[in-house]
Symmetry: C2
Subunit: 321 residues, 2 copies
């Protein structure tokens, strides 16, 4: 919804497809969805669709904001070919379980669209703040520098500022793995630990995100950028973040099932913890925080024990690979 | 005080020198200094000194926590030679105005001690949380890997965890410049901007810290570590941070003079904004956030105009050097 609003602000003709019938009904009648964006009203010019095939027909650009684990099935369920003249932009953050593919790879493999026309837009950009017009900076990444620049120009509207990158692997891995670290930071919050601990977790978290990214062919510099450290910071400090929130409640002693059953929207980090851990194993990359979050979420380890374990690791030089 | 407490916890014999006569008197009578560390009481075993020469006589290690702009005069005022058998550890964060030297350079040049026996200990470590026993991770840096390891072993006590580095330039530059970015983040807070903006400022801030550091011979990886991004995060999110606090009040429209006159302790970032800007000029490094903070603090620019200026910069690729 926030990107539909943004593109409309930029003078584009925008269609919005809503998957959930109930949410679609409310959008049609009230032009709003308070469970997602409180007190936000969709501009009248944005056309609403409950049929994905109708929504994508004869479009220039298609923006996909489908949760990571559902993207493939949504694309496979299309009756018509996804064939925008301009290209496809993914904004979901996650790694598919089992296939261990990033979102742009899922898009290319499922639809046959060339990687040269696929981009991922990522960075510190809570939707709540975007629609309030708060200054926001993100990165548009595509293997094609030309397409990244096109996306940069299209989405740079008002106080929403877009940088360009050709390291789509790094941008996708950064945006995805940061949700695992946000759960860890939330666990520290839930345990009542302080800013020193949180700063340490985020720093060591950034290091392990970078290690895995580099093993997958990403540029290390990308992790020092908006879709790495920037998104990590905003997610870990924000009250808006669902992933940090899940961690906080876990730290306070609640069970994952109870927490997830109460949440209206997906906390991508929970599933990303599974796929991130698998990737770490497959590529033999040391990711101690991801491993401990996995222990806590899925193997019944006490959060306080996980933190103790992280601290008890043997003293090392700061940089290791 | 926090490090005196820590070293005492580690079973070391500790002396504490207090410069300010009033604070010294209170330490002697109450074993406390509530204006610095609320409700903290210094262990009885720590010996108090108001005479620096007496405090440093026949010591193994000397820890210097003198504010950056006063370190040289304090060292010059010693009547006896600073000559600990072990070495000297600096924990101040700043760059001397005029000389543009970092703290370890000031120490070596003033005392004649070999750089091989000088280290800087830096990272996300608010004293308030250290004395509460919160898990904290920092980095000990020295041009000598052996001395960095010594300091690492000495200071790794309980939940205070030390990593080692030989990039003392990077560690000092990171710890110093992050205070400028914390002022910028505070300004955003004071203007009522959100987490997206803060994440963007911190990310672009990290990039300019890194650019200057690399121009001065530091390793870029250091800025992805505890004394770079780690300290940056903790400082920018913390209610304990004096630098963020100065920025917040500036953002709310107060004048720098009024704010500083009310503060009991030094906000190093104010002076570091001057020296950081000079270094940027001297080495021809682009540091837009530092320049804007300088405009706001010392040249009467409105905070809101500075933010607009930063956002109005031409669109670029994310990584530039």
């Amino acid at each position: 919804m926030a990107l539909a609003w943004l593109l409309n602000q930029g003078g584009n003709s925008v269609r919005l497809w809503e998957y959930d019938p109930e949410d679609y009904g409310r959008l049609v009648s009230e032009r709003a969805n308070p469970s997602r964006l409180r007190s936000f009203r969709l501009p009248d010019e944005i056309e609403l669709y409950d049929d994905a095939d109708a929504a994508i027909a004869n479009t220039d650009l298609v923006v996909l904001a489908t949760p990571a684990q559902h993207l493939r099935s949504v694309l496979n369920s299309l009756k018509t070919e996804l064939h925008p003249t301009g290209g496809v932009i993914n904004v979901a953050k996650g790694i598919e379980i089992n296939s261990l593919q990033g979102m742009s790879e899922v898009i290319c493999r499922t639809t046959g669209i060339s990687p040269e026309r696929v981009a991922t837009l990522s960075g510190p950009s809570h939707a709540e703040e975007v629609v309030e017009g708060m200054p926001t900076a993100v990165v548009a990444a595509s293997v094609s520098a030309a397409f990244a620049s096109e996306v940069q120009r299209t989405f740079s509207i008002g106080k929403f500022r877009v940088y360009a990158s050709t390291d789509i692997t790094g941008v996708e891995i950064g945006g995805s793995l940061k949700n695992i670290i946000a759960i860890a930071a939330g666990i520290a919050d839930g345990l009542g630990l302080g800013d020193n601990t949180k700063g340490a977790i985020m720093t060591r978290g950034l290091a392990e995100m970078t290690r895995l990214g580099v093993a997958l062919g990403a540029e290390p510099e990308t992790f020092a950028g908006l879709s790495g450290v920037g998104d990590l910071i905003t997610t870990c400090i924000s009250q808006h973040s669902r992933n940090r929130h899940v961690g906080e409640r876990i730290g306070q002693g609640e069970s994952l099932d109870d927490i997830l059953s109460e949440m209206a929207m997906v906390a991508e980090g929970v599933e990303t913890t599974r796929s991130g851990r698998e990737l770490a194993r497959k590529h033999d990359v040391e990711m101690p925080i991801t491993v401990e979050v996995h222990h806590v979420l899925f193997e019944g380890k006490l959060p306080s024990e996980a933190v103790t374990e992280l601290l008890g690791r043997e003293l090392k030089a700061e940089i290791w690979r």
